[in-house]
């Protein structure tokens, strides 16, 4: 893999200007000394002061010097864009999950390697403030068991988004995969699923809740029906006491005491800093473990039908 020296900040294009792009990607790039937002591609959105394309092929032909693209599209169309970008020798950064199917992501991994460009399958929750410190603590302890509680109100976080309950929409695994991305990052040894229960609303194609049992005494409970206080917590029991991530990884408690975490740039700024490193080193990062665990749960899980769900 070759990486040409390029002036900092490097130009980057953002593809798919929806809510996640506006809320996270645009501010992260704006705050970055590594990157400069040089173009957007979207059928509906744009960013003030930045050249906007509504056609991806036109962008690829017009701006060959923009050698990195970040795809904030939904999973369904993402593969076609990623494939085109890689074939056009652009470095590619993917929102989570990196695809609709494991097989398509494997195709992208092989293609990136053939084209000699960087592919980064991001997991934003791995960049939460407490994750690196939790991983460091666990590396020095013997893990006895772990308990994930990822319970939120789908009506609050995905109001009216019917597609998440359609086939391929992932259901409660859409937030749950964030928990799995943290789990697979912080545990010193890999685990695998031994059983799962998936709760499908009788009128829906994806689960609204799931309980997952893994080797190593790891258990996860995902639930999208949680009203009131919301819970995004991973509690790991070790030989020397508990290591607990709260608030989706933003807070860390070790042996019952909250740790003061170092200043943190935020999840998305950290992703863009990592992408800059990968491009500079000519490397890819494509860990599919969180996505495999979801596929394993959907394959192995016992299905239970629960009450119909309407937004």
């Amino acid at each position: 893999m070759t990486s040409r020296p390029i002036a900092t900040p490097r130009p980057i294009a953002l593809v798919g200007i929806g809510k996640i792009a506006r809320d996270q990607h645009v501010p992260a790039i704006a705050a970055s000394s590594d990157w400069s937002l040089a173009a957007t591609v979207s059928r509906s959105g744009a960013v003030e002061g930045v050249e906007a394309f509504d056609d991806f092929d036109a962008f690829l032909a017009a701006r060959p010097e923009i050698d990195t693209v970040s795809l904030c599209l939904p999973p369904q169309p993402r593969f076609d864009y990623a494939k085109k970008a890689l074939l056009a020798r652009r470095h590619v950064m993917l929102e989570k999950p990196p695809g609709q199917t494991l097989s398509e992501v494997h195709e992208l991994i092989d293609l990136a390697a053939r084209m000699g460009v960087t592919l980064y399958a991001t997991w934003h929750s791995r960049m939460a403030a407490g994750v690196a410190a939790a991983k460091a603590h666990l590396a020095e302890r013997a893990v006895r068991s772990a308990r994930i509680d990822w319970k939120e109100d789908v009506r609050r976080w995905h109001p009216g988004q019917e597609w998440i309950f359609e086939a391929g929409g992932m259901g409660v695994f859409d937030p749950g995969i964030n928990a799995l991305s943290i789990l697979t990052e912080i545990l010193p040894s890999p685990v695998h699923l031994t059983g799962a229960v998936l709760e499908f609303p009788e009128n829906r194609q994806t689960p609204i809740a799931a309980t997952l049992d893994f080797t190593g005494g790891v258990r996860a409970a995902f639930d999208w029906r949680q009203e009131g206080p919301q819970t995004w917590e991973i509690a790991v029991e070790t030989d020397r006491g508990p290591v607990t991530l709260r608030d989706g990884g933003a807070r860390l408690e070790v042996d019952g005491t909250e740790e003061t975490l170092p200043d943190h740039p935020g999840e998305y700024p950290a992703l863009y800093a990592r992408m800059a490193e990968l491009v500079a080193k000519g490397e890819s990062e494509t860990d599919l473990a969180p996505m495999r665990h979801v596929a394993d749960a959907m394959t192995l899980g016992r299905r239970e039908t629960v009450a119909a769900f309407e937004f």
Copy 2:
């Protein structure tokens, strides 16, 4: 990876002496000049004239010179046996599918690499008589589309096997994965799933039928309710005419004419010959593409409820 020179035939142990071991593995090893069946491990079965263990740990401790084991256990217990065997530096051959979850097989792949031994995740249908010839034809043609019909009577092939309809039992993907193992072997370029319909009997946890749509114009229909003639066929349309595998890959028709296939040792003898090659070369072979396609279908597929099924 190191491979010690060992006299031919090499000793091998067979773990799990059930129907598939008796029908396929024992005769294949008996007919092989590469292997000599040196021990069996099973709680219930044995092979006349061969030392029988009923405990795997006892076998590993007693016969360190048997450096290869073939696991014919069901998928559920297979991981624990494979992990023990790899930790004990034995080469390991796995029946299909190589595990219950993708994640556990990834753990085995990493472990085999660390221990410096061979891991072979076998797909017996890839060794069917017509598969290599079909692959060679397709390498010289442009594939336009493909159609898989894998339709058999579950009452005939799995009489009373309730477990195949329980969570994790794979349902119609148990035979269907054989078709996918051939498809992924013969196609010149990879494909991935774009949609699927899964038919779940109202009283069962796994599908009895499935329709899968892939990129590249590939469509698969799996059905376990086929009475009368049974169909295991892959028909590939190309720029120069059709290439069709029938009878699960045993027969090949090219441009409408049946090919005379060279003498073939049979699927399982071919697997054991391949295992001998891999051990001699110090290599592993662990293509999980067929298993990923099943996981993709279970993740992405739309579920339909169909009539209850009883054997």
